[in-house]
């Protein structure tokens, strides 16, 4: 069975996010001034072959832990849907 995982990897909340700060400034320049907080991370989509949803879940969890996110600085969450 084919599944698609939508993964978000974001910098930990307490960390300074220089990119978010700069984009917030940019949004102010185009008149969007009622913006409080901008944070920027990665969105990763993965198509994965697995015998069932649980197996896909376990594999994606492992991918996030081992490679896709750096636990020292990032947190992740993901959703899985059947193709």
């Amino acid at each position: 069975m084919k599944f698609t995982a939508e993964i978000d990897v974001m910098p930990l909340k307490a960390l300074l996010d220089p990119q978010g700060k700069a984009v917030k400034h940019g949004l102010k320049n185009i008149g969007l001034s009622t913006i409080e907080n901008v944070r920027i991370g990665k969105h990763i989509t993965i198509e994965i072959e697995a015998s069932n949803r649980e197996e896909a879940q376990v594999k994606i969890e492992e991918a996030c832990k081992k490679l896709l996110s750096n636990p020292v600085m990032e947190s992740y969450h993901f959703s899985i849907s059947e193709n």
């Binding site: 910098p11 930990l12 909340k13 307490a14 960390l15 300074l16 996010d17 220089p18 700060k21 700069a22 400034h25 750096n70 020292v72 600085m73």
Partner: protein, 596 residues
């Protein structure tokens, strides 16, 4: 020397033409082991702030990196992260990375060394000191907002920490090169207004450190309102604001009445510029939080030498030091296939081209790097508008220092001086970054004491004063011992005239090749012995400081007389590698006869 060592944020050396060079090297080893990218990036940020906080514009950066064995994926990842961190920060900040060194050895497996060096130029007499005085003068904090960065790093009872939920404490400090570039331009601009009494960048221990250092130096006190400090995270406590090590922040003491002028500059550059307190007489630092006195400390006691405790540590000669002496070249078999040895050495990570690394650094921004199209042993930086140039290098073979700290450290200074001389410059002064193991280990402290002896001896010989530097202890290897003692030497040289600039590449077929200095039948601590024969125990290579000095004078005079087409120092890999490097840089070959 214009500034006594340790007095200012960086060493300051007069280079003539009414100009001075501020330069320094610093380590960010432990943060880089935790998170290589940000650890290295914030190291670059910190060292550059030490330069422009004195009013000098950074013109060149170098770095000295040490990693464990490249066969391990972890070390490959550390190398990739550190190099990308240095590149991303340095390139965005806009100061060319013009030189450096990298060395791989098992002893650095879990504790890489990341030393960053920066050099800046300032008109003599136009420098700004890290000082605070003048009753009533306002104190400003400028640059990034303050967060709970580096708080867990503070030596606090763990009891105090549990109030903060874990996810509120930033695990790592994030560098923002964009804000640092704004801070650089704003700082240099505000200095020109003449409104500044003193300026200090915020490094370790943030506000508490900068307020006390500046006050102790100016023999005045301060009243600081911590609630006025712009913060990035909600409800920060007083002690967190005091100790925060958030990056890209400076403390400014401004002349009373000039506040508006200062604010205008920081507003132009969209940076925080907040009046957080005032200078007082006496030497007490009074910190208030919402008008409640939270700390009242004398500035004096916190400052190095101002009253901070001085320790006298025992040391003892390590066993390996004597064992190394038992090595003899006679029981080293000569390999049959010397071509194979040559190929092995030329491709060894410690010797092979480091292009993969330095091509990730912008080495040309500022259009001052004369070594881009004419590679030279030391990087030569054009001082526009004068006939001068400066040369910069960073050197240390830590394997030699491990074998014999006194001799090895003297060799490190000698090699830096050799690189400066081979590029056509006159050695001027050094800064150093002393990376050692746990100082409570007697054998480590012996390495430290001996290295300082060797450095002093060599610096006196080459007349290159030590203008300051940095010490990093507790660099331990994976097998519980210390890493190799690594006293990295950063040296500045001056070319009175750009015409003496000398490259390392051969120039024309038919030019004669001269070897200056006597060859000794000695392969101790060489890459050949250590990596090809895998003989790890041998003394430091043969070295005579007086002969070394004389050889360098010969090269200096030959260059001055215009006799030299190129010059290249014989170091790692020996004569063959040196000749190969000069050949490869010029697409010319060489033929030499040896007399034995």
């Amino acid at each position: 020397m214009l500034a006594e060592a340790g007095q200012e944020n960086a060493g300051l050396v007069d280079i003539g033409d009414g100009l001075a060079c501020a330069f320094k090297i610093e380590s960010h080893n432990h943060p880089s082991a935790i998170e290589p990218y940000q650890g290295a990036a914030t190291g670059v940020g910190g060292i550059n702030r030490d330069i422009f906080t004195m009013g000098a514009r950074p013109v060149a950066q170098l770095n000295s990196l040490r990693f464990g064995n490249l066969s391990s994926d972890k070390n490959k990842a550390l190398l990739r992260g550190v190099v990308k961190g240095i590149g991303d920060y340095g390139n965005a900040f806009g100061v060319p990375t013009v030189g450096g060194e990298v060395f791989f050895d098992d002893c650095y497996n879990v504790n890489p060394l990341v030393n960053a060096m920066s050099a800046g130029i300032v008109e003599t007499g136009k420098t700004v000191s890290a000082i605070s005085y003048g009753l009533g003068n306002p104190v400003f904090i400028v640059g990034s907002s303050t967060g709970k960065d580096g708080i867990h790093g503070a030596t606090f009872a763990s009891g105090d920490l549990h109030e903060d939920s874990a996810d509120d404490l930033p695990s790592v400090q994030v560098g923002d090169p964009f804000t640092e570039k704004l801070l650089l331009e704003a700082s240099l601009e505000v200095i020109k207004t003449g409104a500044i009494v003193g300026m200090q960048d915020m490094g370790a221990a943030g506000i508490i450190c900068s307020t006390s250092e500046m006050s102790a130096k100016g023999k005045h006190g301060m009243i600081i309102h911590l609630d006025r400090v712009p913060t990035r995270q909600q409800n920060m406590q007083a002690w967190e604001i005091l100790l925060s090590e958030s990056q890209e922040r400076m403390l400014l003491v401004v002349k009373k009445g000039k506040e508006a002028e200062v604010k205008k500059v920081f507003e132009k550059w969209d940076l925080n510029c907040v009046h957080i307190g005032d200078v007082t007489t006496g030497n007490q630092l009074k910190f208030y939080m919402d008008r409640e006195l939270v700390a009242d400390v004398p500035a004096e006691s916190l400052v190095l030498g101002g009253g901070a405790p001085v320790y006298n540590r025992e040391y003892s000669v390590p066993a390996y030091y004597k064992e190394n002496k038992r090595f003899s070249i006679d029981n080293v078999s000569e390999p049959e296939d010397l071509k194979e040895v040559a190929r092995f050495l030329l491709s060894h990570p410690n010797i092979a081209s480091k292009r993969w690394i330095y091509n990730q650094y912008d080495s040309m921004v500022g259009t001052v790097n004369m070594s881009t199209n004419k590679p030279s042993d030391a990087a030569v930086i054009n001082i526009k508008g004068t006939d001068k140039a400066i040369a910069l290098t960073v050197d240390c073979n830590s394997r030699y220092v491990h074998a014999d700290p006194e001799q090895g450290c003297a060799i490190a200074v000698a090699e830096a001086s050799r690189n400066i001389v081979c590029s056509g410059a006159e050695p001027s002064a050094i800064t150093n970054c002393l990376n050692f193991g746990n100082p409570y280990n007697k054998e480590v402290y012996w390495q430290f004491v001996q290295s300082i002896k060797g450095m002093g001896k060599a610096c006196r010989k080459f007349q290159t004063p030590v203008t300051g530097g940095n010490v990093s202890f507790y660099n331990q290897s994976s097998f519980e011992g210390p890493v190799f003692p690594t006293p990295t030497i950063g040296m500045l040289g001056v070319l009175k005239s750009k015409s003496s600039f000398t490259g390392l590449a051969f120039r024309k077929a038919g030019d004669h090749i001269f070897l200056i200095g006597e060859s000794v039948n000695d392969i101790s601590s060489s890459e050949y012995l250590y990596s090809w024969h895998k003989i790890k125990k041998s003394p430091a290579p043969h070295f005579d400081l007086d002969v070394e000095f004389k050889n360098q004078q010969v090269v200096k005079d030959a260059i001055k007389k215009g006799l030299v087409c190129s010059a290249h120092d014989v170091s790692d890999g020996g004569l063959f590698v040196t000749l190969a490097e000069s050949a490869m840089a010029s697409d010319l070959g060489f033929s030499i006869e040896t007399d034995f």
